[in-house]
Assembly symmetry: C2
DNA sequence: ATGATTTTTTAACATAGGTAAAAAAAGTAT
DNA sequence: ATACTTTTTTTACCTATGTTAAAAAATCAT
């Protein structure tokens, strides 16, 4: 829903009335079936998505192994960060893990809104700040936690998603093999 | 030098004349001796620094091991990302690896400049975008590279710093022990 | 230059986690 | 319910990298 999207934006950083009115008509909805590719490797990501419903994973292959950078679920924004920001080909693949409904604005509109509305520019700054901080946190986690701690943290922070994400995907998110994850789970 | 700082900002995103004039008087210089702590753990980072000269490392301890998140050298900006952005206590330590001279603006000024000047807000957005993208890249590297690839990449991307960073620090940046790094180097 | 300190390498050993393959369990469809 | 598919666990084996300690090399100070 466009309204939820706008509410989300306002929550990150309050928008001016003019900005709000300028955003609304630019919001489009896009739906994806379970398993459908939302953005493929090499493709430039042209949208900022707000997930109204569903679950998405953001991953890539390296030497036959799968690495998942992040999951995104309802009431959250997502995009392919560097691809969207710099309009460069994505190094990652984004697919729907469940039937997913999104509200989106595209890059051209996003840039125009930034230019026209200081309050939207402020929102963008906050958005990217959050992204940078989340990524920094992830780096720290990857550094200092061994696999079993990582799993413990993952469980704590993603309780609402646990039933919806397979152990294989969880392992790929943690950067370990599924066998290792099974071993970790067995020790408890 | 204030001029270099301003030039750097303009390079990231062009500033309006008014913004430039408003920034200049807010820039202060700060110098640090080799080994001096610039921002300690638990301390809120109140400055955005531009390095005129020198080298800085950004690290933390975990279970007696040292992990280095990043090095910053001359003609680059640095701050303690989440601590500065959210004015929360830093989880990291920042120290000078060499005698270091910086030009800085503090958080209050930074926020005021964002509020007053759309062009400065745009600069900030770009800055955080760059930070987010760099962090994303680092996550990917940590995921998919084994230690010897990581070292190879590090050499490529930091040739200018190689003579200035000890192998111990390099190992801490790569997230491996110095012994492992020595082994990697031996195999060539 | 000489000795003291720091950095880097080497050696010996321990362990976390990878791969491959099979077994078990859970989920889905007819 | 039965068979088929997918997910998860278990086993066996192997490798990369950690730890500790000592040797070697490089750097620094008087």
């Amino acid at each position: 829903m466009s309204i939820d999207f706008i509410n989300y934006l306002n929550q990150v950083s309050p928008l001016s009335k003019e900005a709000e009115e300028d955003i609304l008509p630019r919001i489009k909805t896009k739906s994806f079936k379970k398993g459908q590719v939302i953005n493929s490797e090499g493709q430039i990501c042209k949208n900022l998505f707000y997930i109204d419903k569903g679950l998405v994973k953001h991953y890539y292959y390296h030497k036959d192994r799968v690495f998942i950078l992040r999951f995104f679920s309802e009431t959250n924004l997502f995009t392919v960060l560097d691809s969207f920001a710099n309009q460069t080909p994505s190094k990652f693949i984004t697919i729907a893990l469940e039937d997913t409904e999104t509200s989106t604005i595209d890059y051209a509109d996003f840039e125009e809104l930034c230019k026209k509305h200081h309050s939207f520019e402020t929102f963008s700054r906050k958005l990217y700040t959050m992204a940078a901080v989340v990524n920094l946190k992830r780096i720290k986690e990857m550094f200092d936690a061994d696999a079993s701690e990582l799993y413990k943290e993952f469980i704590n922070e993603n309780q609402h998603l646990l039933q919806r994400i397979s152990l294989g995907d969880t392992a790929s998110y943690l950067g370990i093999s599924q066998v290792t994850l099974s071993r970790i789970r067995a020790k408890k």
